[in-house]
């Protein structure tokens, strides 16, 4: 079998291509991250709080801000490929479309999810959180943002044929992501209070696996319908 046609090759080259594109367009990569830091920093200004309150609301607030800044990046997931015509090539390529959508989703998570995860222990300092609490927060965000990418990929594919879709996209994706928010933030709070936080990890892990099982296929179907 020709090695250029293998599924693994299709996956890796799509991921590489997206990373390369983002390297050429750094502002697009950095802006959501800056927004995440800025909003997290401005929250303690707006609310009059003492130290102990800050570390209590910290996990929830950081989770919400992470989801919001993450939602802003979603509308670009397939938009550029639609604009420059690459999407048509993906639809026509011999690679199975779900593999390509999964590769794009994975690349999107690496480019917009992981940076948030890496920066959040530093943001947690704003909220006077302990180091181990903030590491647990980062761990929940790692799984959580991946699940968000998977769900968001469906939303991005569905709203591709509408104009000015970023608000509509948030409207569609937010209700579905509430379970991750509940358990993501709650896991950290449980850990802070000295309880076991394993059950929360099980839940977001299960949710992530569940999303993984259908997201690439549903996104592919939505892209096909949208391009008819």
């Amino acid at each position: 079998m020709n090695k250029y046609l293998s599924i693994w090759n299709g996956f890796t080259s799509t991921v590489k291509r997206d990373c390369l594109l983002s390297k050429k367009n750094l502002t697009q990569f950095l802006n959501p991250l800056l927004l995440f830091i800025l909003v997290s920093a401005s929250f303690p200004f707006a609310v009059n709080l003492n130290e102990s309150n800050l570390s209590t609301i910290g996990p929830g607030v950081i989770w919400v801000i992470a989801i919001l800044s993450f939602l802003l990046t979603l509308s670009n997931l397939y938009m550029h490929d639609l604009d420059d015509g690459c999407l048509d090539y993906m639809l026509l390529s011999p690679q199975p479309l779900p593999i390509l959508t999964f590769a794009k989703t994975f690349a999107h998570w690496v480019l917009s999810g992981l940076p948030i995860v890496l920066i959040c222990p530093f943001v947690a300092i704003f909220y006077q959180m302990e180091l181990d609490d903030s590491l647990v927060l980062a761990l929940t965000l790692t799984i959580g943002t991946f699940a968000l990418s998977l769900i968001g990929s469906i939303g991005a594919a569905l709203t591709l044929s509408t104009k000015n879709n970023s608000i509509l996209l948030s409207l569609l994706v937010l209700p579905v992501t509430i379970p991750i928010l509940i358990f993501g933030a709650k896991t950290v709070v449980l850990y802070q209070n000295g309880h076991t936080s394993l059950s929360g990890f099980y839940f977001i892990g299960a949710y992530c696996m569940f999303a993984l099982s259908f997201s690439p296929f549903v996104s592919a179907a939505a892209l096909r319908i949208g391009s008819e």
Binding site: I154, L158, S161, K163, L171, V176, P179, I182, F214, I225
Partner: protein
């Protein structure tokens, strides 16, 4: 049987059959609602714990039940539309959405009015049914927003059907995720293994309003679907004949 279903799925047949069914459904539904409401408000005994305040159950439970039934119905008709490309199924999904959103809203409002004297608050974040019902309202809004924002009708139908199905597999997840919070909402009195735990004098009006509201809902859905079908098929021969018939009469 299959032949009958095939026949029903064709828009002209649906149009003629529904014109016979609608008055029957609407009248029976309204009679049942009237019977249930009058009995429930005036003749059923007051609850030993909640006094007369429980009587809002005769509005709240049917509304909440229909809000969930509508979503299920939309999911089924979306699946039928995506798999078998039956045009009528799309028309049903589109016409059901605003009704579903309205009954969800009604369930939230009546629930909140009931909550004020019973729990002492209009809104309680700790309650799973309240929050998952609110999220369901957002799912309805999302569906309507997506359908409205895609210009091409066929694309709009198919893409928003996908959204409904994704929402449908997520509704249980959303429900159980919020259920893990401690709950204030009383548990169901009707759906129990050892029979309903409610006095017969209260149960009969409740069942009567539930069935009545369902029939009323179905008649509304049929009226909306009929106009949707005519809008969608305005260039076909049978609609043109129909309009000619109306003009000549």
């Amino acid at each position: 049987m299959m032949k009958f279903i095939h026949k029903l799925a064709s828009p002209p047949h649906f149009y003629s059959i529904s014109s016979v069914l609608i008055p029957w459904l609407a009248i029976t539904g309204l009679i049942l609602i009237l019977f249930g409401v009058v009995n429930g408000l005036f003749f059923a005994p007051p609850d030993y714990q909640q006094g007369d305040a429980y009587r809002i159950i005769y509005v709240h439970v049917p509304a909440a039940y229909i809000s969930m039934m509508t979503y299920t119905l939309m999911a089924i008709s979306s699946a039928i539309a995506l798999i078998w490309r039956i045009k009528l199924a799309n028309a049903i999904t589109v016409s059901a959405a605003p009704l579903g959103a309205w009954f969800t809203f009604l369930a939230l409002v009546t629930g909140s009015i009931w909550g004020k004297p019973m729990w002492g608050t209009w809104w309680e974040w700790g309650d799973p049914r309240l929050t998952s019902e609110l999220l369901m309202l957002f799912l309805y809004f999302g569906y309507m927003a997506l359908h409205a924002s895609i210009v091409d009708e066929k694309k709009a139908d198919q893409l928003s059907s996908i959204l409904i199905l994704v929402g449908a597999i997520n509704v249980p997840v959303i429900h159980y995720s919020v259920e893990w919070w401690s709950s204030l909402h009383q548990t169901s009195t009707l759906l129990k293994i050892d029979g309903p735990s409610i006095a017969t004098s209260m149960l009969i009006p409740l069942l009567s309003t539930i069935f009545g509201t369902t029939l009323y809902f179905l008649s509304l859905l049929m009226i909306r679907t009929r106009s949707e079908v005519i809008m969608r098929q305005k260039n076909t021969k049978w609609v043109k004949d129909l309009i000619k018939g109306v003009q000549n009469a």
